[in-house]
Structures are given as structure tokens and as C-alpha cells.
């Protein structure tokens, strides 16, 4: 097993994660704000940045809106 490469596409996972959050919060009154809060509370800055760099491919339109809302606040993590 050592030596075998187990390829994981982290960005693809983040796309799945945010789309899943979108589907599960569809009934929130202000869904975009609710998801932005959620991501802010639970994701590292680096994860947010990574998704931002990835762009909108594969993202649910609501997720795209969330990322647009988050973008200005996402700063480079202090030491990564």
C-alpha cells in the first residue's frame, strides 16, 4: 500500500461540501447569509480561499453567490 497513490481532489470535495450545504439549507429565509455564516464559522480561511480560487465550476448558483459574498472578507491566513 505504501507507494500506491490514493488520489484525492480536495477542491472537488469542497465543491461537494458547499453544494450539500446549499441543498440542506434551501428553506432558510436568507439562505446566502445563512450559508456564509456557516462557512465562516466552520471552514478555515485556507479552505475558503481554495474554493474561491477554484471558481464557479460545478458550484450550485446559490453557492456561487455565497462565495461572492465571502470573497472580500477572505484574507490570506496568517502563516500558511
Amino acid at each position: 500500500m505504501t507507494g500506491q497513490v490514493h488520489h484525492v481532489d480536495t477542491t472537488a470535495k469542497l465543491v461537494t461540501m458547499i453544494n450539500q450545504i446549499v441543498r440542506n439549507t434551501a428553506r432558510e429565509k436568507d439562505q446566502i447569509a445563512a450559508i456564509a455564516d456557516h462557512i465562516h464559522a466552520f471552514w478555515t480561511v485556507r479552505m475558503q480561499q481554495q474554493l474561491l480560487e477554484h471558481g464557479s465550476t460545478g458550484l450550485d448558483p446559490v453557492a456561487v453567490a455565497v462565495m461572492a459574498r465571502l470573497a472580500p472578507g477572505i484574507r490570506a491566513p496568517h502563516d500558511a
Binding site: 500500500m1 490514493h6 480536495t10 450545504i21 440542506n24 428553506r27 464559522a41 466552520f42 478555515t44 491566513p77
Partner: protein
Amino acid sequence: MGYEPQADFGTPAVKSDTTVTLSIDGRAVSVPAGTTVMRAAALSGGAIPKLCASDNLKQFGSCRLCLVEIDGMRGTPASCTTLVNEGMTVHTETARLQKLRRGVMELYISDHPLDCLTCSANNDCELQDMAANVGLRDVRYGYEGANHLGEATDTSNPYFDFDPSKCIACSRCVRACDEVQGTFALTISGRGFESKVSAGLASDNFFSSECVSCGACVQACPTATLNEKAIKDIGKPERSVITTCAYCGVGCTFRAELRGEQVVRMVPWKDGKANRGHSCVKGRFAWGYARHQDRMTKPMIRAKVTDPWREVSWEEALGYAAGEFKRIAAKHGNNALGGIVSSRCTNEEGFLVQKLVRAGFGTNNVDTCARVCHSPTGYGLSKTFGTSAGTQDFDSVEDSDVMLVIGANPTDGHPVFASRMKRRLRQGARLIVIDPRRTDIVRSPHIEADYHLPLTPGTNVAILTAMAHVIVTEGLVDQAFVAERCDMDEFRDWADFVSDMRHSPEFLAPVIGVDAAQIRGAARLFATGGNGAIYYGLGVTEHSQGSSTVMAIANLAMATGNIGRRGVGVNPLRGQNNVQGACDMGSFPHELSGYRHVSDPVARAMFEAEWGVPIDPEPGLRIPNMLDAATDGLFKGLYIQGEDIVQSDPDTRHVVAGLEAMECVIVQDIFLNETANYAHVFLPGSTFLEKSGTFTNAERRIQPVRKVMEPLNGYEDWQVTQELARAMGLDWNYTHASEIMDEIARLTPTFAGVSFARLDQEGSLQWPVNEAFPDGAPIMHVDGFVRGKGKFIVTEYVPTDERTGPRFPLLLTTGRILSQYNVGAQTRRTENSAWHEEDLLEIHPSDAENRGIRTGDWVRLASRAGETTLRATVTDRVAPGVVYTTFHHPTTQANVITTDNSDWATNCPEYKVTAVQITPSNGPSQWQQDYEAQADLSRRIAMEPAE
């Protein structure tokens, strides 16, 4: 403390508002009405001789040893069955009574082997005590008549023997098994001299019978008939220490009874508020792993995981680890480091690990294995009620009228609490079980669930919404409760949502796989059956909609007014002993202790002032994200205390890839676990018997763990963490675990009133313990929700991405069994393996037949993540289309199969649903063989120091 058996007042305590005063041998005694004369006498310090009575069993009145005389009453009534009356005058020691009692004892002793001096129970035998007590000197009947002395001893149980020659047919064992444990494994047949205790059928012995080895009968037996083997092997205990079981979230307390430094037996503590004197096979008997030959006691290091381990001094190991972590931080930044807190370790140890990560590593990359079990509970309950914890104490079940058990298998996972549930069910409470599998609680002696809804795995939200639909549309909502306690706008939104026809049982039945009428019936029963309590486990949380399901449960409890008093509530049954505590202690990357978000400046300021370092206001990485970051080359060093993520976390291959990508992995554990195969530093850990601290059980009960023997490795786990911190340059100087708790109390408002001294005094405390709740809070949300108004949250059913299809047509769900615990590292190293040698795949007869599979056959279990092999057992416990297995053995590699799907809110893995295919096989898979080979290679320890 010297050795004293636990006090036994003869008959159970009764609750009554009326007090009755009577005279016993001239002493005035006041007790609650309904108390027996026997108990009143014992409480007032004048115990009456007894044999068949015990205060955890209903009065029986068979031995006739407890006779008394009562003024104005004819004859000599049995004190264990006679209730006190106001003004009663009782005499317990008259010449007439003494004569009668001697006669009774003579009969018993004439049929009893008189090998007291060599009997293992010598000096710890109630029969012997009673003979002395009644002054029996000689036996008139002689010892030559018919007796049972030649009967063979049943040694089939790994932990205790049954020697029928010593049995006095008092039936305490039978009643303990029925009343306390609820298994009904024992019978007493025949009358008088012919009376005989047996386990199961005549052909059975204890091991082959229904017995689950809880030990209740052994504890109840007044003679050496049922006796722990350890008493014979080691000898009688000389002292005892009260401590807390380190297995499951019930948190039973035990008297560790010792001879010198050696534990002789663990006896459930009668004053323990979680277990009330009961136990299961794990806590009672399965502690031998503490002295198992596989215990690691020396620190080890290696530069590469392909190198053999090298045993080194503590100094060298800690210096190496600290050097590596500092090097990594300098090169890759603080966020390339992280730590994992174990839910098995104490609160104090968990707190220190997260402190080391936040204050020492300078990052919030700390997470706990609760991530993979109950993180959705924290999320769901804090959103709806405002606290991340269950609402009740265990005693509350005594007032429940309807129990809804969803995604939990209490008889296997939480056996002692299950016994209490079963006792209440036998008294007439009703039962609804929602579970894909027919768990034991669905049908057991004298219990039959009113409804068992065997839903398709992954449809929890759908079924709970369908139940809510029935409750709302049939007008069964507790309007008064909702109006007073909940936010009405949110309630209306929710009520509109669930009332929609697409949420009716009829519409959803095909998705759920359960008949609509059954769902309606269950919903009506829950809403109208009186006090309704919901108990749930990992079958709720370990799903892609785990958090939504927790919220749906909370909605249901609020809508039916089942919150804020005894008998009701939302009760997560926690898997591991300290899941609650690990969560409370700030082990999640986004939270400081007491569930305060790292972005909260007030909370951060408290910690910064105490610790003298800045705390990062941004959340850190969760375990799965740490592994992702590692494969991306961003995460390099991980300190893992008491966890085995290679075995317990989903998608093993990804876990392994993540660990392989790291530069320094530190594993601290009692055994070389599977994760240690990928570690560079191994720090030996200590067992719960070797340390001081506290665990917090599923009812928020903080209980002391007390050191009963010196740690084999020389240090308690918190000391190892402290040494690592010191090696990294932190000036930590705790001299005892209690000082860590003092710091926790200073920094955590819900723990403000907790200290070791207070715990010693009270036995245990249920948080919050602070100014508002100085003695703790057994039941929460009594006068209002912690968050203010209860919040209904709309939970839309979103099917999991994990779908069956032509390649993977079956759904795999996973669970655990009674005798084994989690990844089995401890229980596999005890005699418990006699009950569970390997993990088996349960498959329904029709699915088995289609594939030509019979019980005992090797099968290949494959999912899109990987494949493994194990043996099958064909059973209709599982529905067609569903297969089930446990995950207690590393060679099974069940997590090679599970996928990286996870809960949308918390990333708790979706262990409970994996699309799989089963095919016949002729032995272990290539992966298993490779894994074994790799594991063997990786566990090598160099005989001589290299270099």
C-alpha cells in the same frame, strides 16, 4: 480504605411524602411510608438476618430468616415483606426468634458443603455471616442425608463459575437477571429440596444460554455458588476505590476491589447515579487489557515509517517530537500542525491537548473523534435548544410513558441504560423503534415494541417529517407548550412545511420503505401516549443528514411538549465514555471549552489572559480536512492522543494517504494501534485504572476517575502531554489532574462550580454547575430554553448521494455488539472475544440465496471506495436489500468500504449508508493481505538501538 462489602438494606428504597414513625427494639425510627420493617431496621443500624432479600430486588419472602415479632400481630412475620405502620412496635431479637432462625439456618447448612476454610468466598459469604449471626453451632440433621454436594461446577463463562453444590435456592440470581438486567436467562425449577437454578435449557451451560454476562447474578448471590474466577485466582480483595467505567457513554461507576496493586474485580457501585449498582460485561469484566502483554510501555521513534521502531528514553522521544514540530512550524507555518483529542481520555487530558494545540502549536487545528460520531448532536441541539447536550438524566426514564428509540441499539451499545429502559417497559411504557435492523430491544422477554419501523438506511429525515406531518395535520400538537416556549413564527413555518401533502406518510412510504399506517400509528402514539422520550444514537448522526435528523428530533419533541420535565426529552446515547466531555472541553476546531466560538472576542480574551498567548480567531481544520490538507502538502505534523483513525475513520485508504503525506505523526496510546503503523513517534499511554481525572457521560454527569494502580509507562496521559508541551518550550507545571480541572472551571462558565473536592463530596455533578445551578442540572430547559425560545427548523429530506445501482445494489449499515467496544483494541484483548471472534456480515435470506451464500461462507464486500472480505451470517434481522456488520476487528477493515460522504453541517461521516455488492469469496482480499504484511513490517521494533 479497608475492604467492606457495600451496604445492603434488604429491600428497595421507596418514595413517599408521608413519614411513618415506629419503634424497633426500643429505637424510634422514621421512614417513608411503604418502607419494609427490614429496611427500617437496617437504616436505623440494626440489620435483621436475611438471605433471600437484597435492596436492588423486589421483596420475595422465601428464606424465613428475617422473622420478627410485632406487638399486636400474630405469629412471626417476615420483615422483608411487612410494611411499617405508624406506632408499630417491632422486636427483632427475642429468644423465640433466635430459635426459629437457628432452625432455618440448620436446614440450609445441612445441605451445604462445609469447606468454608478453603472456599473462595470465605469471610465474604452471607450464609457464613448469617450462621454466625444466629449463633448456629451444630446441625442436628447430620450431613449424611440427601444433598447436592456432588454436582459439577459450570465453568463455561470466562469470568465466573457456577457451583450448584453451594446453592441455597434463594433465587436472588434469578430475580437479579429478571428485574435488574431484564434478560431472563435463569430459572429456578422444582420445589423445596429439589429447587435448582439453571441457565437456559437443561442442555445449556451459562455460556451457551441467553446470559449476557452482566454479572448481576454474581453480585446478588449470597454464597460462593456464583463467584468471579478472579477471586479464586487472586484471592479476596483488601481495599476498594470508586472509579468510572472507560467504555461507553452510560458512565457506570464501579468499586475497583484490589488486593495490593492488583484489581481482583470491578463491582458496580450501588451509589452510582448513572448505573444504580448495575453493570455490563465490558465494565464489569473486560478490564484485563490493562495488563495485557501487548501494552506498550516505552517511548519509540523512527525517521521513516518504513524503519523499525527504536526504543528511546522519554527525553529523547519528546525532544525529537518537539524538534520536528518546531521544524515543521518554521518551514510550513503553524497551520501545518494539529492535534486529535480522544473521547476515551479524561476531560483534563482532552483540555490539555487542545490547549497544547491552540497555545503551543498556535493553531486551531484540533478535533476529536466525536467528529465521527456525535458532532451533529452538538450542531443540531445547539441550533434548536441552545445547548450541545442531552436534556435528561437517566433516572428520567422511570417516568417515561412512550419511548422512541431511533438509530440506537441500547441493549448492545448502552446495556446498563437499556436494562433501565426495559424495566420501565415491563412496567407498561410503550415502545417505538425506528431502525433498519430488528435490534434486541424490539422483542425481548416480556417486551414487544408497539412499532418497529425498519426504514431504508438514509431516510431518517423523511420518516421524522412524516411523523411530524401526522402530528400537525391531526391536531396533536401541544399548542400550549409551543405558544409559551417556542418562537411562533418559526413554528408556523415548520408546521406549514410538514403539513404539505408531499410529507405525508402515504407519499413518503415508498421512499422510507415502511407502511404508511405504521408511521401514522407510531406518530399518534408518540404524541398522545403521555410522557414521550426520544433516545437516539449513531444511526441518527452518522448520515449525510445527521444534523438535520437531530433537528427533526428536536422539532418533534417541542411540537409534542416533551421537553423540560422528567420522563421526556431528547437523549443522545453517546458511544464512547467521554464523548460529551471531549466536546465540552473545546476539542472542536471552531470552539473553546463550553462551546464558545473562537471568533467570540470575550471568550478568547479569557483564554488569552490565562494562557498569555493570542488565540487564532479563525476556525481550524476538522479531521477529514486535516487529511485533505495533508495530501495537498499543506499539513505536516499531527499529535494523536488515544485515537486510532486508521481503523475508526471512514475511507481508510484516504486516511492512510493523509498520514503518509505527513512528516511527523505522534501517536500516544496504550497499544501499537493501526494508526501507529504510520507514526514517527510513539508515546505509551496509560489506562483509566492508572490515572486521575473525570469523564462526562451522556447525561452530562461529570464523574471522577481515580487512579487505582501506578501507570505501567510511568506517566498519566496528561503528564505526557505536559512533558511534550515543556519540550516545546511551554512552562506548564500541573502537579495533579485536579489543577487542570480548576483551570477548566476558571475558563468555562458551565463548569464554574466543578472541582475534584466537590466531586468527591457529591459523587458526581451534572453540568451546568455554576451560580444559576449550584448543584448542577439533571434536567435542562425546565423553565425555558437555554437559547430563549425553542427554535423549529425546517428539515427538508435530501437523499444521500450514496445510491444503490446495478454495481452496488445493497445498502451496508454498521453497528456494534455488546461484548466488543468500538475498534476493539481493549475488548479484543480480553476474554470477551469468546463471544465475538470476528466481524460477521448479516444478510437477509433472500439476498443470500440469490448469491448462493450460506452462513459461515466467506464473502467479498465491495463498495466504490474499496473491498474487503469477511464471513456471512444469514438472518432476517436485516431487511432484504440491507446488509450489516460490526467494526471491532482490524482485519475486517470495514472502513475500507465506507465512503467519504459526510454530514452536510459537521462532516460527520456517513457510516450508516454505503452502497455495496456481496459476492462469494474464498478468503481475505489482496488489500487485507497487503495490509497485514504492511502492519507487520511497520510494527517491528529494533532489538538493538540503530547506530
